[in-house]
């Protein structure tokens, strides 16, 4: 009965807003790109200094000091809190990007980092909620 309010060709509950979601994506990325471009102007006009060399050494630094939060245990309380908050930020950011993709991709499954990769059903309607991913 409830399903009669909606077209049967809905692939899932987000399909009806796909154009809206895509528009917000484009506007959001465009706005952020403009802000970043303005912020990069002083860097690009400053004295040149090569910072693209030795990528592996730089990635190692990122792994140690950014992802690994190597310096923070120096301050027991504030450092530990920062590590916890940083871990929360990584989880939140990962989840946020995942949710963003779900709304505009027909083949992306938001089963989390340990989920499978089965594409969503293409015949479901309101009475068929979004399908879970499965490794089967």
């Amino acid at each position: 009965v409830v399903g009669s309010y909606f077209p049967a060709q809905l692939t899932d509950w987000l399909t009806s807003g796909k154009t809206l979601f895509l528009t917000i994506h484009v506007l959001g990325v465009a706005c952020f790109g403009y802000i970043v471009a303005r912020r990069l102007v002083p860097l690009l006009r400053a004295e040149r200094d090569p910072r693209f060399d030795r990528p592996l050494a730089r990635l190692a630094k990122v792994g140690k000091f950014w992802l690994g939060q190597w310096k923070h245990p120096r301050y027991k309380t504030a450092g530990t809190l920062h590590i916890l908050i940083f871990a929360g930020f990584i989880l939140l950011a990962t989840r946020a990007f995942t949710v963003l993709i779900v709304g505009v991709s027909d083949n992306f499954c938001d089963a989390g980092p340990f989920g499978g990769s089965r594409p969503r059903s293409t015949t479901s309607s309101l009475t068929t909620p979004p399908q879970l991913c499965s490794s089967a």
């Binding site: 409830v2 309010y5 509950w13 987000l14 009806s16 807003g17 809206l20 979601f21 917000i24 994506h25 506007l27 959001g28 990325v29 706005c31 952020f32 802000i35 970043v36 912020r39 910072r51 030795r54 050494a57 730089r58 990635l59 630094k61 990122v62 000091f65 950014w66 930020f89 939140l92 989840r95 946020a96 949710v99 963003l100 779900v102 709304g103 089963a111 989390g112 309101l126 009475t127 068929t128 909620p129 979004p130 399908q131 879970l132 499965s134």
Partner: protein, 132 residues
């Protein structure tokens, strides 16, 4: 997030105060950013809970939600909701999440959390021979 906001507004630890020579404290900005992050988390939780509740009602395998997490609690609240309601919550929560995410992304460069977006690049492009 609630604890962080309360610490900003009620308890006010001394180390949060900014000496005048370093400029303003930006407390309002801190609370505003915490609120945006809280909205992001609530929207995500509503999205996940509505989906799980709908799957449970349809007899489908339900995505496991961490016990005592916000989505887990909201899923219980939604257990008796109609599919129409769940659809609206699912759609609305996604929209709220998307708008909040991009607003936060674009607002951060103007607030006290810009380092959240730049820290990775700061570390990657830092001088490798600093201190030598």
């Amino acid at each position: 997030m609630i604890v962080a906001v309360i610490r900003r507004l009620v308890f006010k630890p001394a180390r949060y105060e900014v000496p005048a020579r370093f400029g303003k404290a930006h407390k309002a900005d801190a609370v505003f950013l915490l609120t945006l992050i809280a909205i992001l988390m609530v929207a995500d939780s509503l999205f996940a809970a509505a989906k799980a509740a709908a799957q449970a009602q349809q007899g489908q395998p339900v995505e496991s939600l961490a016990v005592l997490s916000l989505p887990w609690m909201l899923q219980i609240v939604f257990a008796s909701s109609s599919l129409l309601t769940l659809r609206d919550v699912y759609f609305g929560a996604y929209l709220l999440h998307e708008v909040t995410f991009y607003f936060l992304l674009c607002y951060r460069p103007f607030g006290i959390q810009f380092h959240v977006e730049t820290s990775l690049f700061n570390v990657y492009f830092a001088k490798l021979d600093a201190g030598r």
